[in-house]
Amino acid sequence: MSIKLVIWDLDNTLWQGTLTEGGGEKLRPGVLGVIRELDRRGIVQSIASKNDFAPAKRRLESLGVWDYFLCPQISWGPKSRAVRTILDLLNIKENAALAADDSPFERDEIRSALPKLLVWDAADPGDVLLMPEAMPAFITEDGSRRRLMYKADLMRQEARREFSGNNEDFLKTLHMRLTVSPVTEEDLERVEELTVRTHQLNSTGYTYSFSELRELMTRPDWIFRVAALEDDYGDSGKVGIMLLRRQEGELVLKLLIVSCRVMSRGVGSALLAYATILAAREGRALLAEFRETEYNRIMYITYKLAGFEEQSEAGDKLLLRYGEGEPLTLPDYLDFREA
């Protein structure tokens, strides 16, 4: 499993010494390079530290690194609680995160509450860059902008908390524009990255290699689309993939993936509605393959409540059929465009 997030302790992990004892004047050797490189790789970073918030923030600012960290949790509560808060805010699963902490006690405390989370002593900060889990196959454009996209998302969450109406009314205030277009060669790295990184909103859990994807792009019997999302808070980049195959009188949705980052913004529903429209245009029945994984139950629920019924089951593969006569209506909380 590749990691999406590194959570740093401060005293004697990120910086030298203990802030409350006059330390913390310098980052530990090598740490700055690691922070910058993780950021470049699209691995976001946060902080879980037992300190007072204001002085720790001031110190991180004067060290020039404050902006690298998303939703830092700096307080005297248990570390595991801080870590869990960060995972919830960023919607990242515990097995896709690494906590760096010099204290064996804190590492144990985190591990006992979150057994699937990776913990690391950060004795040699550069080691993290060599971990296979921290090496994405490609560094995509979306990857290096990822921190800013997560920041925009934290702002959306804040706005959602302050908004008193229902969820669809809130979504309308974002002015989302979802553009679906045929996959191009330049998209393939991001597409592969999405298949590897996305678990909760992945209909089959299949991953495709770069060369397989490139081959599928050229096949006339396959429909291969990417979806890009932007709204008033910023550009989220490529957030969804749809892979469909024409088979006799049917159109089979082989793969539907939506980035977890935009899960709460209704993109999955919109893409599913679009698939029903594509099938109706071609006069074909719409089927969808689903393979249950540890995380993708939400995808199953989405299919079923959109009007798909189980048709057959072969091994671990389930075939669902869209049973309604009419295609689904595109949701009115976003502006859908076909490019």
């Binding site: 969820n167 669809e168 529903s269 939400i298 989405t302 949701p331």
Partner: protein, 77 residues
């Protein structure tokens, strides 16, 4: 103690015109995003995990129907 129906109705607070017997899917009240939210709300509110078989449009067609599913789920445990 609230009845099951009342507890589910809490989800629809702030939405006009939804009664326990309102058809949720036919009425245009429910798109699939909303439907997903209802399932997740019900599972959290009643601390249950619905099986694949229980997750159908029919079972989520009205608030009263959802309540029946929740109650029958409780009996089996």
């Amino acid at each position: 103690m609230d009845s099951t129906v009342e507890r589910i109705m809490k989800f629809f607070e702030g939405r006009q015109g939804i009664e326990p017997d309102t058809e949720l899917f036919g009425s245009g009240y429910v798109n699939s995003l909303f439907a997903l939210e209802i399932v997740l709300f019900v599972e959290k509110e009643f601390k249950i995990k619905l099986s694949r078989r229980e997750i159908t449009r029919e079972n989520f067609s009205t608030v009263r129907r959802i309540a029946q599913v929740v109650e029958s789920h409780g009996e089996r445990v």
